[in-house]
Symmetry: C2
Subunit: 86 residues, 2 copies
């Protein structure tokens, strides 16, 4: 997998996890963050190279710290790296 | 200040600080991250809405964790908020 896909996918999984924990739909997250629902879907599937501003809007809408989303992204990347070695 | 400028400036200051700690020039950082020197200058001045991929390239080039840059960004934002109250 290309490096850009790896981090995008890791970020997407972090968003999906935080959204699930928050118990809200993609639509609700999109509404709160003032973004489009399909854009949230794209992000969660790792298909978007999200900007600083949109990442911070998403974190705010999920009521988590931006740095927490990024830490989760790093964890997801190291997990992905680990599973590749198997 | 507009919210987008606040976070971009806070991120820019986090990058500048980490670069100074690393003891490298904007040119050296740009070369390591495979980005343009003027783009690094723009980022440090808070003039760019940097993408996930470029943030992660910059963190890697600075040999710091991406989440550390974001934590520093959050600290810079709360400092900026605090100084506004004065």
């Amino acid at each position: 997998m290309k490096a850009e896909n790896r981090i995008q996918e890791a970020f997407g999984r972090a968003v999906r996890k935080a959204r699930t924990v928050a118990g809200i739909s993609q639509e609700e997250l999109a509404a709160r963050a003032d973004l489009h629902r399909t854009y949230i879907g794209d992000i969660e599937r790792g298909e978007r190279n999200v900007s600083l501003l949109n990442m911070s809007k998403i974190a705010e809408a999920l009521k988590v710290k931006f740095s927490l989303l990024v830490r989760q992204t790093e964890k997801n990347m190291s997990k992905a790296g680990a599973s590749k070695k198997e």
